[in-house]
Symmetry: C2
Subunit: 199 residues, 2 copies
């Protein structure tokens, strides 16, 4: 016997999430029906329906935010001379939790991956070049992942900036090779910033 259609539809929706297989999706769907109050369910539905209009990319750095420019870009206590380039907003949240970095960020929303058709035009790079037009920026820290795509992206940016009057560095020791930044602990992330090396 199959699940009633509305229940099956809900299961399929949950299966869109990373690491959620059929069994887990079924649990989530049954939990939705039997354990979540009507009020809570309506709230969840409304948050989902509105999340993309309430959270958008900062026009300066590309970080996900509910105000434009984002809290980091508009914070005058932070050092505007340093920009850390990361692949995703998740990485910004991770670095912020480590509480050691006081510069600004730039979020690429991806990494170069010719196989998957991701070239420089697909990344949030134009706005990075724009930020370098005035002379405030003295250093760019490349904090893309230590995966093949992340390394290729760092290499690409470093080449573009080669002849510009800006120090380009790559985060260093600390972040485990082949790992995703998302899973790095605060200490590792702090160490990685501290031990960054210039190209």
């Amino acid at each position: 016997m199959e699940y009633p259609k509305p229940l099956e539809d809900l299961i399929v929706q949950f299966m869109n999430y990373p690491g959620v297989g059929r069994k887990t999706a079924e649990r989530y769907a049954m939990h939705t029906l039997s354990k979540i109050s009507d009020e809570n369910l309506n709230e969840f539905a409304s948050i989902l329906a509105n999340i993309k209009s309430r959270i958008f990319r900062c026009s300066i750095c590309g970080h996900l935010t509910d105000v434009d420019p984002c809290h980091i870009c508009s914070d005058h206590h932070r050092d505007s001379a340093v920009i850390m380039v990361v692949e995703s907003s998740k990485d910004v949240f991770s670095f912020e939790r480590s509480k050691t970095y006081k510069g600004k960020y730039h979020v690429l929303h991806g990494a170069l991956s010719p196989i998957n058709g991701v070239g420089p035009e697909e990344l949030n790079l134009e706005s990075l070049w724009t930020r370098l037009h005035d002379d405030t920026v003295k250093e760019i820290i490349l904090a893309t992942s230590s995966t093949q795509e992340g390394e290729a992206t760092a290499m690409y940016i470093q080449r573009v900036l080669r002849n510009m009057d800006v120090v380009v560095s790559r985060i260093g020791y600390g972040v485990p090779v082949g790992a995703n930044l998302e899973y790095a602990d605060e200490l590792t992330l702090a160490k990685a910033v501290e031990n960054r090396k210039s190209y």
Copy 2:
């Protein structure tokens, strides 16, 4: 730094689900923002908002359904002489997947648990007694979990039915002791039905 409020709200909603901690909820929230299309997201939100009005309890057996009576209760090819009593609709779906049971069901939506304030009145039992008023039902198979609550529930029902002209049996060998029915494989469930024993 904290997450922007709408994003934090979404994370909190995902944390309502079983086995979902803060880290997983953050992944789901970020995935919602960056990987799920607007169209898909609106569909998900609408399914969530409407699921409880589209899926309800069958007025005969209590099983979750989108038609009343449910497909199982209205299926005349199934044996109306046997009713299998289970704790939740999940268990019905599990037994149906094992494709060996051809009787009807009765879903209690819980198990007796005095500590948690769950007495017989909190369970879907009144409608079970009602179903026994006519003489079609010859056997009741108690398929509650082999947990303390499940055993207490089976014992309670067996006592109530003691003086009635109906065979009461408990599913037998096959279901691992202390385990939740939900995780039992098809073969184990089939075996459990086959080896049921009479009280």
